[in-house]
């Protein structure tokens, strides 16, 4: 049986440690992942451009990806 008090304690502890930066980074990372997944299955690779790629996710949430410093592997599972 779930111990709700323990769950709440763990959550409160995590929230107490959050800063503007930590939460913003966490949320940005989530949304960037979501944005990248919209391209479908595949892999991102470097291109020779020095121009950063700007990604606008909402009015106040923007990403700027510098292509030459960004080389993630992306391989989402097939959506069920």
């Amino acid at each position: 049986m779930l111990d709700l008090n323990n769950l709440e304690k763990k959550l409160d502890k995590a929230l107490a440690l959050e800063t503007k930066e930590s939460l913003t980074n966490w949320l940005k990372e989530k949304r960037l992942k979501k944005y990248l997944s919209s391209f479908g299955e595949g892999e991102l690779c470097q291109i020779s451009s020095e121009q950063p790629v700007k990604v606008k996710l909402s009015a106040s949430f923007n990403f700027e990806i510098k292509v030459n410093s960004f080389n993630p592997t992306y391989n989402p599972k097939l959506a069920a």
Partner: protein, 191 residues
């Protein structure tokens, strides 16, 4: 309530029969397929319907790729599941935690989180690893099958969606006791 009745009530509420809908494939499934869609309410997990009717509706509306859909039946141990539909304590707890995290995120980032993001926060930052699944609900989007007449008010019709559409997302396979093919059906147009 006598002990046997209490025990029966306890067992009946812990083991639930639920339904998993997928497109019909060449080979029958041996386990449910995780949903990784970004619009999945409560994040990545294995989704089940509480009601067979909703499992069929889902097949007809969203699992049409091969023209047929399949429904699988499972017995699921709900002991370590957050039941926000039938358990009042769990619902109040979940709502409180959800709004607490949402307020914090809004305050710190000026962004409203999605339900999925909030749920991801519970799991990733709150380390709610012991929560094996969540039972949740919305209301049916198709009013055609409701058995009540719409209310007319100021020349507008309002349908009261009295029936809950209950789902469970499972994060930990260990609570899936059985998984068996139930039926294959041809997709029909619901409209």
């Amino acid at each position: 309530m006598c002990v046997i009745k209490k025990l029966k009530y306890y067992i009946c509420n812990l083991i639930r029969t639920l339904f998993h809908t997928q497109e019909s494939r060449v080979q029958k499934l041996t386990e449910p397929i995780p949903c990784t869609r970004d619009d999945a309410w409560l994040g990545e997990g294995k989704y089940f319907w509480y009601d067979l009717f909703d499992a069929e509706q889902w097949g007809n509306s969203s699992k049409r790729a091969t023209g047929f859909f399949e429904i699988y039946e499972s017995e699921v141990d709900c002991e370590d599941v957050l039941d926000t539909v039938f358990n009042e304590e769990h619902y109040n707890f979940w709502l409180k935690q959800l709004e607490k995290v949402a307020m914090k995120i809004i305050k710190k980032t000026n962004e409203k989180p999605t339900l999925k993001e909030l749920n991801d926060y519970f799991k990733e930052r709150g380390t709610w690893n012991e929560v094996c699944g969540i039972i949740f609900q919305d209301l049916p989007t198709n009013n055609k099958h409701l058995l009540v007449k719409p209310i007319e008010y100021k020349n507008k019709k309002f349908t009261f969606a009295y029936r809950k559409r209950v789902q469970m997302v499972i994060y930990d396979d260990k609570i899936i006791r059985t998984f068996a093919f139930l039926t294959k059906e041809k997709c029909i147009n619901l409209n």
